[in-house]
Assembly symmetry: C2
Homo-oligomer: 325 residues x 2
């Protein structure tokens, strides 16, 4: 059994917890929290909730620590820190800062003889893998990534911060015509607006100025101004009934040629009922890989690009060749 | 530059040749053939065609030999033989004999300090990878593989052997309703007949008994008897005009749960204008990986399961993290 610790018990921490239960070779040892452990009720019976301070002593009996924090401030600090004590996994997704984060985790992990797998999940993660494989096989080609239909938590939060908004849920939706054009292998040039639309469900405070809310949303820089955005006002009950899940998904479509006029299209797509549970499942598989690679003496920062697929699987190499090849 | 040799110049050999041209770090050094080299006209100027006997001396200046032979008799003999002299790649696809083939190549390659990557291509190959990744992430799930629409060369050959058949082309076609059911995540039980249909275009010899040909096809054991098969008789001109390519493709669809009622669907699909050129492109990427891994001292038999994706890519690890993650 590979002993897993989870640091942070938000949506993603619960997703990792669910994933661990699906894997018979993984065992959840403890959930670590910055909150008062007594205040936390987790979904796994018999598993302790412990204060994060315990981790810092470096004596917790865990094989891999899965760090479920935010990319803005938590992970840049936590992942290098704990990589100097344990094998760690994170889902760092601030693309522009990945090289810096990688270097920090690499230095800490190498010094400690541990592994730190960063930027695991589905994007970055499974989508990244598919971009690399497709480009390696069809280098004279082009990849397109579409996201959705799914809930963007960052965009939902941005709408919630607008005055008069009580609750909000933002769906990112790929534009069908753009997806079809890409699937045809025609390699179109697509603007941001042509690739995705945004759909916001908003519960307004009583007496709020709905026209003002709508205008504040659709003109919001970075988040909405470059997109065609639709705003729909709904009731609290409708929000709860129809939008309480966190579905997501999307696709990576790569088209390329191998000789004049000979086209190929590779598509990888995900339809996810729960973004955090699927992300947690990728982190759990990475925890297995981190443990095994570290047992073989490998250390330092890694991404999914550096992990031979067999390390992620619970099956033996013989089983994989016999049943999956 | 990684120096590539191609052994065998049929459809697949030409596919590898085309792929090498798409990769600026790969260089075709020679094509090796069992035929009279003078009789072979290849598509790359300035590259020599040499007799296979030269390879046997073990002195050819190539980094990787891509062996483009048949799985029935060529590869079981050739791959272990040449793995004792060079890094080699093959596309061995007789599923039941993979463990035996792997063991033979492993012994030869390890003794020589070389790498032998076997069973590369798209199935086995890219489809196998996707079965493993999906199962690792969603172990409580089930994968379905569909092939087509595309030309099955084995089935086309089987039809050609029937008396009165001058030429034939067999298309394997996934059943749309089955694909839709799988995509829904409902994990249906599907029989062979429910998953694929077969469509044969046949040019009959003059005066041949078409009813007898059709009966011989649809009742042929192993090849057709378990499928709904349609036979269409066409002219030689129609065959040449409409069916001279070797398109193929298909998809691996894996659906699984991460908690009660929370479903996810992962789909990987290929639409290929040319089966041998795409297969050749996978072999070319594997040649790069074989060379690099061997430079690091790795030897023995490998499959795509054992290869970290970064080894397949022409880009550096830094570039991959900055642009693909």
């Amino acid at each position: 059994m590979i002993k897993i610790g989870i640091l942070g018990y938000g949506n993603l921490g619960r997703g990792v917890e669910a994933a661990v239960k699906m894997n018979s070779d993984l065992e959840l040892v403890a959930v670590y929290t910055r909150r008062d452990p007594a205040s936390l009720k987790i979904n796994t019976e018999g598993v302790e909730v412990r204060p994060v301070a315990l981790l810092e002593e470096g004596k917790e009996e865990i094989d891999v620590l899965v760090i479920c924090g935010g990319s803005a401030t938590d992970l840049p600090e936590m992942t290098p820190k704990f990589a100097s004590l344990y094998n760690v996994i994170d889902s760092f997704d601030t693309h522009a800062r990945i090289p810096e984060h990688f270097a920090n985790v690499d230095a800490a992990a190498k010094k400690a003889g541990k592994i730190g797998i960063i930027s695991a999940g589905w994007d970055p993660g499974m989508f990244s893998l598919n971009r690399v494989y497709a480009d390696a096989v069809l280098p004279c080609g082009k990849a397109y990534t579409f996201w959705g239909k799914g809930v963007s938590q960052g965009h939902s939060d941005a709408v919630r911060r607008i005055e008069g908004v009580k609750d909000a849920r933002q769906y990112t939706i790929p534009v069908e015509a753009a997806v079809d054009a890409v699937r045809s292998g025609s390699q179109p040039e697509l603007t941001t607006r042509q690739k995705h639309t945004r759909l916001c469900y908003v519960v307004a405070e009583e007496g709020a100025d709905k026209a003002a809310i709508e205008k504040a949303i659709v003109t919001m820089p970075n988040y909405f101004d470059e997109y065609d955005t639709t705003v729909e006002f709904i009731t609290e009950e409708e929000m709860k009934r129809d939008h309480s899940g966190l579905p997501h998904g999307g696709m990576v479509i790569h088209s390329g040629v191998t000789s004049e006029g000979t086209k190929h299209v590779i598509e990888y797509s995900l339809k996810l009922d729960s973004n955090p549970e699927f992300t947690g499942s990728v982190l759990a598989a990475c925890a297995r890989a981190a443990y095994r690679m570290n047992q073989e003496g490998v250390c330092g920062a890694k991404t999914l690009f550096d992990i031979a697929p067999a390390y992620l699987s619970a099956h033996s190499a013989d089983e994989l060749r016999a049943h999956f090849l």
